[in-house]
Symmetry: C2
Subunit: 198 residues, 2 copies
């Protein structure tokens, strides 16, 4: 990228570090940004800094929020006795989009993976345990249907069942090996309806 | 995106405005940015602002540069009597990557398109004409092999040939309907070698 001088080269290399952005897309984005009106570039960069500096974990469910607790945890109409456990905020968004789930969530920000060296202490499990001290009827485990998601489900089940709380797992309507965020809403609902006891 | 609060919603909507970034990628990028170390976010946004504020057109060939003239125009080893005319800087980069072209470039920043209402006055044609007043042996037209690129080539040819300058067009080694930036280097070289008089 020396071709265009250091400023563009630096922008392209910064953009290339983002997930899903290859060398060619980074170059295309860089030229687009240079051609954007100045105030639009400022709006873009401000939204990044602003989100980075003001967004943190909900102190209840650990999803991202710019408030103290997220809008779901703050909503008194939701059923706070049912907690759906998901791997990340995108999976929460996927279930939220169905519009049919009225419980609350818990975002683990990962899954147990011995392969990647991610243990129970590396995800938001302790935060989940703290919540279970309250009045909880059911934990619905909606981790992904893969090795890591299943291991995480098994681990949580073993921890929670002795506490006398019902533990369920969303049904295999979600294709094995698939990621929740890419599944259509109807399949997500079927999986929720067909959930089984663990 | 109300789900996550205004800060994330704003970031997602800003990211969605970028070319090739859909709603899902924007969401994924937004969460990635929030999870990035603070100094990395600052480096990313600074590179954007820095490029936007300091990059402009080379006063010779109209490509992007942060200097007065670009590194190619400033290079005395290049043959300044041969000018390759391309539609945009990405196409220049594609030919530059072959490492076999030793002339200079002229970047039009567009192509003539009656359909889109883009006329000769909307692209960097006047700047090309100014350069032809100097010592130029050949103009190689390397606009895309589509309707707009062909129209632009014909228009330039009609203007330049009466000036006694040789005008060539890269060969149809480039697939008809294709965009230069996605073509492999060998095909780009074949097209250069097989260029014909217009």
């Amino acid at each position: 990228m020396d071709l265009y001088g250091e400023k563009i080269g630096n922008l392209v290399s910064q953009l290339s570090r983002l997930p899903g952005i290859g060398a060619k897309s980074a170059q295309r984005l860089a030229f687009h940004i240079i051609n954007m009106p100045h105030d639009q570039v400022v709006a873009l960069t401000n939204s990044m800094i602003n989100a980075k500096e003001n967004v943190h974990y909900c102190k209840e469910c650990c999803t991202f929020t710019d408030g103290d607790v997220c809008s779901i945890c703050a909503n008194e109409k939701r059923n706070h006795k049912v907690i759906m456990v998901v791997e990340n905020t995108r999976d929460l968004a996927a279930y939220e989009k169905t519009g049919k789930y009225d419980g609350v969530y818990h975002v683990l920000h990962g899954a147990i993976s011995p392969m990647l060296g991610i243990g129970p202490q590396d995800i938001k499990l302790r935060e989940l345990m703290v919540r279970l001290a309250g009045d909880v009827d059911e934990i619905i485990i909606a981790t992904n249907k893969n090795l890591e998601g299943d291991a995480t489900a098994a681990y949580i089940s073993k921890l929670v069942k002795p506490m006398g709380i019902k533990v369920t797992r969303i049904a295999s309507g979600v294709p094995v090996g698939g990621n929740l965020e890419y599944i259509d809403e109807v399949t997500l609902l079927r999986a929720l309806e067909g959930r089984t006891n663990l």
